[in-house]
């Protein structure tokens, strides 16, 4: 293997390793500024592409998520400019942007808390969460599968998320983080 190819393979490995470790944080950042699955997924794809393209500009040892967030923010604003309507307002985005760093810190601890909280949910509610997040179902599809009204699913989902949030908050308090 020549030197160039060897280096490229090392780059792949380094990028993959950092990316896999931080992808949820990056996705969280995008989703926060663009709370729409379809757009957020597209932006995530574009961000990953640009990250890889610019990976030689990333300084080893620095905050990978912060570096990725800069790229993601560019992609989010670009898409917002193109699509215009039906996005969060700039003021709302500013309020959220100010909080994103906090939510990137201690992400693993939060995740651990979330895992424990999920197991505390009643069986039926966990099944709904699984339909939503593991099977990527929208509320309209979940309504069909469970033979319930879409509004009913919205209400239940809102309640389940509130339960999860309260549970995570309590757990973080126990960790001394909230």
């Amino acid at each position: 293997m020549d030197v160039g190819a060897n280096r490229q393979e090392n780059d792949h490995k380094a990028f993959l390793s950092l990316f896999v470790k931080n992808q949820k944080r990056i996705y969280q950042y995008i989703l926060a500024l663009c709370p729409n699955y379809q757009d957020a997924d597209d932006i995530f794809q574009e961000t990953v592409g640009l990250m890889w393209e610019k990976f030689n500009e990333y300084e080893e040892g620095t905050n990978f998520t912060a570096w990725a967030a800069q790229i993601a923010r560019f992609k989010v604003l670009n898409r917002r400019r193109k699509k215009g309507a039906m996005w969060l307002s700039e003021e709302a985005m500013d309020s959220i942007q100010a909080l994103t760093d906090t939510y990137s810190d201690n992400y693993e601890l939060r995740l651990e808390a979330l895992q424990k909280c999920l197991l505390k949910l009643p069986e039926k509610e966990r099944a709904l969460i699984a339909l939503r997040y593991e099977h990527n179902k929208r509320c309209t599809s979940i309504a069909q599968i469970t033979n319930r009204s879409v509004n009913g699913i919205y209400n239940t989902m809102a309640r389940v998320h509130r339960s999860l949030r309260q549970c995570v908050q309590r757990a973080l308090k126990n960790y001394g983080l909230a």
Binding site: Q8, S89, L114, Y133, T140, S141, R162, Q169
Partner: protein
């Protein structure tokens, strides 16, 4: 602090926003809540965290690489990344990596629960899943089975027909009109005439052209027996599957066309990536990942080979109300200046008169247009819906009006205020040759349409009127090759300028015969007017022949 009621409402708004089903009013309420209440902004972020935490990381293998220069990047990736198995590594890690940890415990429990249910069944060990489903009466149990055993109900509504033009169905019992639900229990359908668009419940949208035979299998799967379809699968609909008699195409977030004929299956990848397997039975046959701009054919012996992509082979957009179909072509402005619709309806005999802004027939043109002084007027072109107007730039140095809405070219250089010819598609008239020669490459008027502007001339197109007539499509860019025709007489200098809403987007400087400059501009959806200008540089308009060859608005379908 948020009250319980407020938090529940906030959650509901976020969920709707995530699903793309939020109304304008609700979005505005969400904005106000997040903006005005710090506790709401925090609750919003908590919600987002739960979303990102619970979403599957396994989809990384399916993410497509795009950039501002999508084509270049794709090529780069095909050569440098795919060849080194980058994507394969991602896909393998996706297939072999454990499920998100959060769901693991749940899965174990679900597995145990299912096993417990199976233990109480009487009869052979191999449990019939449907019988099991019927036996488990609680909603929770049914949900478990729906989620983990992946049983698709025997009969369910899986899609809706959303567009239809001149559709004629073979079976009178399966006539389907716009808005009708489509069920997986309906079996094979044959579309004898016309074109239809189907929206699957999971988000994929598919355009099917007659003649075609197909079957809708589930909310994200269909079978194409014969004919051709175009699939647009974005965002969360990823994973949509089209199977054919000899292949299976699994979408990874893309736009692609499939054609099934006597000789096999062809798959054409217009954007993104898809997996193509030469056998619809799982894990059999060869597999290939198709990327943007590539196409493959699988013959009846299941042999796979590369083929040329069919850029305009598939209908990629339809609009029933206007009976409009779009096959992937770009919008040709050279066709518009001869009275066309942008897709080739113009007449080769038509010319546009810069003096007055009217179309004239070449054969009946009463007056020559040689060395004419046109004054400072902006002439609206009422004969064309898409041309806003024409003008002669720079009679005096400074602002020149370049649109009916008052846009100006603020720094237009001074000219003698004259022009020398009608505006035509390609060279036209008695003393012109029917070609333009650029660096040894010959372009001709038939195969290489162009806008011929003899300095000093300008023309403005109304992008919004064009958009209005292109339902379901958006204008992404403008592309052309600015060319100076080669002549042997002298070295007349002229320059090319392109403006959008009065802002200069491209300016060539002085060009000479034989020069050619490619231009590729981004057009945003808020841009209203595109202006092309040819300007004399040396105070002599003789032979200032400037051409905008292949002047095209680049179109793409919107979801």
């Amino acid at each position: 602090m948020l009250s319980e009621k407020e938090e529940l409402y906030l959650n509901e708004l976020i969920i709707k926003c995530m699903d793309g089903s939020i109304s304008e009013k609700e979005l505005s309420e969400l904005n106000v809540l997040v903006k005005s209440k710090p506790s709401a902004a925090k609750a919003y972020m908590d919600f987002i965290f739960i979303n990102s935490g619970l979403s599957q990381p396994g989809e990384i293998g399916t993410y497509i690489i795009h950039s501002e220069n999508a084509d270049q990047t794709d090529d780069k990736f095909v050569s440098t990344v795919l060849s080194d198995n980058f994507w394969n590594e991602l896909l393998i890690s996706e297939q072999t990596a454990p499920s998100v940890k959060i769901f693991e415990e749940y899965k174990k429990r679900a597995q145990r629960a299912t096993e417990e249910k199976q233990k109480v069944q009487v009869g052979p060990r191999k449990v019939n899943k449907l019988t099991l489903a019927a036996a488990c009466l609680s909603l929770a149990a049914l949900l478990f089975i729906a989620v983990w055993v992946n049983i698709v109900p025997e009969s369910m509504q899986v899609a809706v027909l959303i567009e239809s033009i001149n559709a004629k169905w073979a079976d009178p019992e399966k006539i389907t009109n716009i808005g009708d639900e489509m069920w997986n229990s309906e079996g094979f359908r044959r579309l004898d005439e016309g074109v239809v668009k189907i929206a699957f419940n999971d988000g994929a949208q598919v355009i099917i052209e007659a003649p075609a035979e197909f079957e809708l299998k589930s909310q994200n799967r269909m079978f194409l027996e014969s004919g051709q379809l175009f699939a647009n699968v974005s965002g969360r609909a990823k994973g949509f599957v089209v199977s054919t008699p000899n292949s299976e195409i699994t979408d990874l977030g893309t736009k692609f066309g499939v054609e099934v004929g006597d000789k096999g299956t062809s798959v054409h990848m217009f954007k993104g990536k898809a997996s193509l397997r030469t056998d619809s039975k799982a894990h059999n046959g060869d597999q290939s990942i198709l990327t943007t701009g590539h196409a493959k054919h699988v013959d009846t012996m299941r042999r796979m080979k590369d083929i040329e992509i069919g850029h305009s082979q598939f209908i990629q957009g339809i609009d029933s109300k206007r009976e409009f179909v779009w096959k992937g072509q770009n919008f040709d402005l050279a066709d518009v200046i001869v009275g066309g619709d942008g897709f080739g309806a113009g007449s080769e005999d038509v010319m546009l008169d810069p003096l007055g802004g009217k179309f004239v027939n070449e054969k009946n043109a009463e007056k020559e247009r040689m060395n004419i002084w046109a004054g400072k007027q902006y002439y609206s072109v009422n004969d064309s819906n898409y041309i806003d107007g024409v003008f002669v730039p720079g009679v005096k140095k400074g602002a020149v009006v370049i649109s009916s809405q008052g846009h100006v070219y603020a720094d237009c250089p001074k000219t003698n205020g004259k022009f020398h010819h009608y505006i035509t598609n390609g060279p036209a008239g008695w003393d012109y040759l029917n070609y333009y020669d650029v660096d040894g490459q010959v372009y001709d008027a038939v195969n290489d349409p162009s806008i011929y502007l003899h300095a000093n001339l300008g023309i403005t197109f109304d992008l919004n009127k064009i958009r209005n007539d292109l339902p379901g499509l958006s204008i992404e860019g403008f592309k052309t090759l600015c060319v100076r025709e080669i002549i042997e007489k002298s070295y007349p200098k002229a320059s090319f300028v392109i403006l959008v809403d009065g802002v200069v987007k491209f300016k060539s400087g002085a060009t000479l015969p034989g020069d050619s400059i490619p231009v590729d501009l981004e057009i945003n959806e808020t841009d209203g007017f595109l202006t092309l200008v040819a300007i004399d540089v040396d105070d002599n308009i003789s032979y200032d022949r400037t051409y905008f060859i292949h002047p095209q608005l680049l179109l793409t379908s919107v979801e």
